[in-house]
């Protein structure tokens, strides 16, 4: 599968951020959403560009670290599912995905998606 990712990039809490567009290819339905971001980051590093910062740890939906607002919905389209438990098979080939941090005054953005 192929996707166009529009990812919120913001260097520091003080700086203003913006969406940057990244095309991504060779995604399989079995991949989790965060594994897709891993893959993007590996490619970005190879090209010498800064990796996208995102929070995660357990990757099994229990620690509450992962976040992301995906196409306007916190943790993506499924209810009761953390982003780390969301798989790419939930999306249509060719879709554009907007990925941004969760915006709340109590949790200011630290960097990118964190």
């Amino acid at each position: 599968m192929k996707f166009t990712l529009k990812i919120w990039r913001q260097e520091t809490p003080q700086s203003s951020g913006k969406f940057v567009s990244y095309p991504i290819d060779s995604i399989t339905g079995d991949m989790s959403f965060l594994e897709m971001l891993d893959m993007l980051n590996v490619e970005l590093v190879r090209k010498g560009e800064p990796a996208v910062e995102f929070e995660h740890d357990c990757r099994e939906g229990i620690c509450g670290s992962c976040s992301l607002t995906i196409n306007g919905c916190p943790h993506g389209p499924d209810t009761g599912t953390a982003t780390c438990q969301l798989h790419m098979r939930r999306f249509k080939d060719g879709e554009t995905l907007y990925i941004e941090p969760w915006r709340a005054r109590a949790f200011p953005v630290i960097k990118d998606l964190v």
Partner: protein, 635 residues
Amino acid sequence: MDSRIPAGDLQGKWTRCKFENKLVAPANRKKFTVIVVGSGLAGASAAATLAEQGYKVKVFTYHDSPRRAHSIAAQGGINAAKNYQNDGDSVYRLFYDTIKGGDFRAREANVYRLAEVSASIIDQCVAQGVPFAREYGGTLTNRSFGGAQVSRTFYARGQTGQQLLLGAYSALMRQYGLKHLELHAREEMLDLVVVDGKARGIVTRNLKTGALQTHTADAVVLATGGYGNIFYLSTNAKKSNATAAWRAYKRGALMANPCFTQIHPTCIPVTGDHQSKLTLMSESLRNDGRVWVPKAKGDKRPPSQIPVDERDYYLERMYPSFGNLAPRDIASRAAKRVCDEGRGVGSSGLAVYLDFADAIRVQGKETIETKYGNLFAMYEKITDENPYEVPMRIYPAVHYVMGGLWVDYHLMSNLPGLFVLGEANFSDHGANRLGASALMQGLADGYFVAPYTIGNYLGGTKLAPAPLSHEAFAGTLGDVKARIALLSKNKSGTSALEFHRNLGKILWEHCGMARNDAGLKKAIGEIKTLREAFWEDVFIPGSETNMNSELELAGRVADFMELAELMCVDALERKESCGGHLREESQTPEGEAQRDDSKYCYVAAWQYQGEGQPAKMHKENLVFENVKLAERNYK
């Protein structure tokens, strides 16, 4: 190396030890500062208890909140010798099961104490409000875990770790609220400061700002978890790492039995190269799920079309008295064996079935849902298959490390003032840990052991002041800076993630479920080559003075690269098989682990000898005065 095991009969050791301990009077405790690194079950319980006792406590965690620690992911339950089921359990039986489960490679005295304090853990947690599962009448209920013929596992659905951690976290935050304790979240310990041969502080990096800081204390507690994530693919949280332990090792702390790794039999199988972690399906599922593969090789029919008499319920067949609840090392090896024979299922052939059809028929879907609902849902999300209708497919995966920093009976390292708790130490599980015993050990260490033994150390040791102005702090800080500069020197290259993945492949192949002389030697060579490539080519974009997870990862992977070699060296040196460590050269005719007590009845404790030098092994001989060394039989 003195294990400081109290003399006298097994049953009285801990009581005598506590009586003989030096005390610090309540009014004097605030004069002592204790650093606790880690806020999982072991760290949070220790920090809360020490603060409650009146010591000044500083807690560090790289998580944004203490309650994200990897302990939160523990699913199945926690053991305790309460004998609520009246099925013959006792402190002695829990002790014996644990010693035998560990294939006679743990200290009797430590394990007995663990069993002894286990019952208090449950009381402590109930008092905190941990919602353990109960019988209809209100009493706490139990289920069975592998390697035991009694039911002694307390649980809160498939989320026991989460509930226990919330209990410990509440206790911790209460002390924080009372200003008895400082909490440093998103701060990673990058080195240990040793002053006059004693652990006196740490160097940390603030993960939000990149700021490096030194901290001084009278004692340092590492409760930093296990390093199973070294394999890249494991059931551990992605950030679990060895850095704290490895830095302590490089400052002189001994590393014990580093090759003892637990491979858990029931995990969701690998689907492809993209995969970042493997998800555990709790051992508790084996209370009701039956493990099988087709009798015939290469049988590709869907499971529902394979008649019962053409199925091999191999655990029930080979280990009739424990059946599906055979211990983890044994169940994992059996799964590997049937898959190696060509009888594995699924597209890769690297999986076996865990089938709930019989349990659902007998107990009804609703009962199974109450017991395991969250696990079934998790399975379905990941695999897109409904386990109420088709059997789960499972395969072994790296889960836990029994190896860790060497500690004596007081849970203190050979470096005075350094205490190591929870999965980070090597103490209680020998060569194989029984299910539901890690939570027990972490909480035993933190609530019931370290608060006594740290008090004894502080009360009985002459400690000169160690101000931050002492040269050891500046020196260690300088080392940390130099290391970050070295990691950041390349101007282009490859992400640390790729090196980590490749390291994992080498370890899994040669230092995983089966090990042999040639494979281990090959792995050592491959690790060295990969390590050189890592330093040549690892690239960290972004800045050191800002949040930078590529930098965090690279630092952890750099330490994994060194630890991986020591794991292989340790595995190579231990030519016997025991527990999870299977040397192919040392097997019984049935393919079980063949111990060699005459040569290997010891703990291998490795000492760092300097960059590029081979580590030196010290042996702590294990003496069994109460149990007889026997072949571990689960048939």
